[in-house]
């Protein structure tokens, strides 16, 4: 009846996950009760859960990523404490638990923090920057988000029901095969990634279509803001690369569930094929994350230097070059697997070549700042912090792209330091920069600068204190994923790294404080003009938060930095009397619970697949399919906002702006 599921799945003998799970469960219950008692449930349902508004979906993606950042961060804290005290002792985490923690940390940070954060920002900003009213497929967008949330839910469920994989974040066979991992851990891993992978693919298709097909008048390709270009490149990579991940994990699941032999040791399976395929996805994945990050830095650096982006066209070229070359380097993740010098040399050289367009970008940002009037607001601090940090990460990357050096450093802590250097210094800093930069646009008030700066400095310094020691212990021969060790030389560095983790934790707490403080002072921090940073692209041309239709009129774009040009024009004309434009009815897509209901059934199905509860698998599968059939047969999918209502909303915004420009004129 319940497959493999029984009471032994609950880890009553392990206090740490049980207490952690209990606290989280109590927290969720408390929030739910608060929502129901206060009567917020209808609001939540109509305005958020069923929303197909790209801005709302983007905000929910970012919320999901932030919550999961706390979970993944807790894993990181536990690992740093373990390695700090596990010198000639077992530490406080038994090996099987420690192995689950590092596997969960990697999986969560990549799939459920970095990915949703980046996709959330793209969702929120790209339609606004393109000057349009929505993404290409609004309901599909909602489905994508909720399927990602399903994956995150399943991963967290493994904390209290069963176990998570002990195989590392990519579940290499043969360890992840049934003979060595008979438990449900790998199944939790694989099914949550399969389900959230569908969500990611859907988001990718949606955003590619949006950039290619929905642009306002005059917004041709070479007038798009840089963030739109990097979004295009990144989502092209999603569409091309995620099917490889899905296929690879499907083969692993066939091995585990139906006795196939794709990656087993026996019966002609080939373990190396798994490494090859998973990294054919895995390397483009790195650029899926970091390209939008580059786009965010481009926007921030240009805005806060009050200058157009230096070398816009070379930046476009560099982005598209990275998009293609990222599919030519994947072997550098397994130089040591046995390939001959031809193969290793070619992939090593390709890996070094990909650093060239990245270097072009760094110079472009520097020259954008050069001669500009730089304002060091929090987003700019993150961007400058990124440039300093990322160069070190990039250089150690070029170092391990040299096969002989890689033979020494493979699987060492040096590697751990390298990829944290580029992912934290590249992607996470960008996520924070984008969060600070676009928060006023999304919610209508700015974030508290003082706490933002505290958060930045603790995170920035904390990063260096945590990860530079890991480079050093890597050089001293420490391999990754060690539950305990006996080498005296490593110990002091592990203690330093643990102290750095403390600083990082304070940084995170400061950022949480920042949000709380800002929400309390939201009236003082209110952004009335829609343009708090003196921005240059079209998202600042509408109010904060934007109305559901984004723009009452499609902006007419005449060049790069579309909004900047509009503002200059308005100032020259001493603000124009708008020639009383004719407002028109606007059709917007109706909200739909399709995404939520689909994800509910996907959760049921995923859970049932993990525990081999076959009747429930059928139930979930049929339910998810039925949901989309119902959606496909809908009669009304749009509603009309009457012209008068559009006019009323737009007039408020125009009045605010008029006062801004006349004030600027007076100065």
């Amino acid at each position: 009846m319940l497959g493999k599921l029984d009471w032994s799945a609950i880890p009553f003998d392990q206090p740490i996950p049980l207490i952690a799970g209990g606290v989280v469960l109590a927290g969720i219950l408390a929030v739910l009760i608060w929502v129901v008692v206060k009567g917020h449930l209808p609001y939540l349902w109509h305005e958020w859960i069923t929303s197909v508004d790209h801005k709302r979906i983007g905000a929910m993606y970012i919320l999901l990523a932030s919550v999961m950042l706390l979970r993944g961060g807790s894993d990181a804290i536990m690992m740093r404490i373990q390695q700090a005290i596990a010198y000639q002792s077992q530490g406080y985490l038994p090996p099987e638990h420690y192995n689950q923690i590092f596997s969960a940390h990697g999986t969560i940070m990549i799939f459920f923090v970095a990915m949703p954060f980046v996709i959330g920002l793209m969702n929120l900003v790209v339609p606004l920057q393109l000057g349009v009213r929505d993404v290409a497929f609004p309901t599909l967008n909602s489905v994508g988000f909720w399927l990602t949330a399903t994956g995150a839910l399943l991963v967290n469920l493994s904390l209290v029901i069963g176990e998570f994989a002990r195989t590392g974040w990519l579940a290499f066979p043969p360890l992840s095969e049934l003979s060595y991992s008979p438990g449900v851990g790998v199944d939790y891993y694989a099914w949550s990634l399969q389900i959230s992978g569908v969500g990611t693919l859907v988001a990718g298709i949606n955003l590619v279509t949006t950039v290619l097909k929905l642009r306002t008048k005059g917004m041709n390709y070479l007038r798009m803001p840089m963030f739109c270009w990097t979004t295009l490149a990144s989502n092209l990579l999603i569409v091309a690369a995620f099917p490889i991940l899905t296929a690879t994990l499907a083969m692993l699941l066939l091995d585990r569930y139906l006795g196939f032999h794709f990656f087993t040791n026996e019966a002609g399976g080939n373990v190396m094929m798994f490494m090859n395929l998973i990294w054919a996805w895995g390397h483009p994945e790195v650029y899926i994350l970091v390209l939008p990050a580059f786009g965010i830095y481009s926007e921030v650096v240009s805005t806060f230097s009050s200058k157009p982006l230096f070398g816009y066209r070379s930046m476009v070229l560099a982005t598209m070059a990275i998009c293609i070359i990222s599919f030519m380097v994947w072997l550098h993740h397994f130089f040591t697997m046995g390939a001959g010098p031809d193969v290793n040399a070619i992939f090593g050289i390709a890996s070094m070549i990909i650093a060239v367009p990245t270097g072009v970008k760094i110079y472009n940002w520097l020259f954008t700042m050069y001669g500009g009037r730089i304002r060091f607001a929090t987003p700019m601090l993150w961007s400058v912090g990124f440039m300093v940090t990322f160069i070190i990460g990039g250089l150690t990357g070029v170092l391990v792209a040299v096969p002989p050096a890689d033979f020494m450093l493979h699987n060492s802590m040096f590697l751990v330091a390298h990829f944290h250097n580029v992912i934290i210094g590249g992607v996470l800093f960008a996520a924070f920069a984008g969060f600070e930069y676009w928060f006023p646009k999304a919610f209508g008030f700015r974030l508290d600068e003082r706490w933002g700066k505290v958060g930045f400095w603790f995170t920035f310094v904390g990063f260096w204190v945590t990860f530079m020691p890991l480079y050093i212990v890597g050089m001293l021969g420490m391999t990754r994923r060690m539950q305990h060790y006996d080498v005296a030389e490593w110990r002091p560095w592990m203690l330093v790294a643990a102290f750095g983790m403390l600083l990082l934790t304070i940084g995170v707490l400061a950022q949480i404080t920042q949000v709380v403080v800002s929400v309390r002072n939201r009236d003082a921090l209110r952004d009335r003009t829609g343009d708090p940073w003196d921005g240059r692209s079209l998202e600042w041309a509408t109010s904060s938060p934007p109305p559901v239709f984004n723009f009452a009129f499609y902006p007419d774009v005449r060049g790069e930095d579309a909004y900047w040009a509009l503002k200059q024009h308005a100032k020259e004309q001493q603000l124009g009397d708008h020639p009383g434009p004719e407002y028109q009815d606007i059709e917007m897509p109706r909200n739909s619970p399709t995404g939520f209901v689909c994800a509910f059934f996907a959760t049921v199905m995923g859970f049932a697949l993990i525990w081999h509860i076959w009747w429930m698998v059928i139930l979930g599968g049929v339910g998810a399919f039925a949901t989309f059939v119902v959606f496909a047969w809908r009669d009304h999918d749009e509603y009309v906002i009457p012209a008068a209502e559009v006019e009323r909303i737009d007039r408020i915004n125009i009045e605010e702006r008029r006062s801004l420009v006349s004030m600027a004129g007076a100065v």
Binding site: R215, G338, A339, G340, Y554
Partner: protein, 129 residues
């Protein structure tokens, strides 16, 4: 958002979207496509089992027929043309082909080289016996 779909400067068709053709013309297109596809399939089966052609050329012939089959599908069913309204589709196809070429070609190359640094198996067994 009906006004949004009409506002692009360059009008661009999605796969499956038709230009203003009459129903008769469209049906004719599909029938021709179906006929060609069936012809190519039948030829493949015929070639595989025949003695009429030089035997080693059969695999080559099958590959050529398979590629022609793909072409027929692209032209008659997916409506990939070289017209200016089709740029996105052609670019998407080219990108897809490039990625498939890189991943499949790279995989074959990598997997063929994996054992290069290993001694031949008989030598290996002798060493350890």
């Amino acid at each position: 958002m009906s006004d949004q779909t009409h506002m692009h400067v360059e009008h661009d068709l999605a796969p499956g979207e038709e230009e203003q053709h009459s129903v008769g013309e469209r049906i004719l297109g599909y029938v021709v496509g179906l006929g060609l596809a069936l012809l190519l399939t039948a030829t493949s089966f015929f070639i595989a089992g025949t003695n009429l052609v030089w035997q080693p050329s059969i695999p080559v012939a099958l590959i050529v027929l398979a590629i022609a089959q793909m072409g027929v599908h692209l032209v008659f069913f997916l409506h990939i043309t070289t017209g200016p309204d089709n740029t996105n589709n052609v670019l998407a196809l080219a990108f897809g082909l490039l990625i498939v070429f890189l991943v499949v070609g790279g995989t074959v190359w990598i997997m063929a080289h994996l054992n290069q640094n290993m001694p031949p198996m008989d030598q290996f067994i002798r060493m350890h016996s």
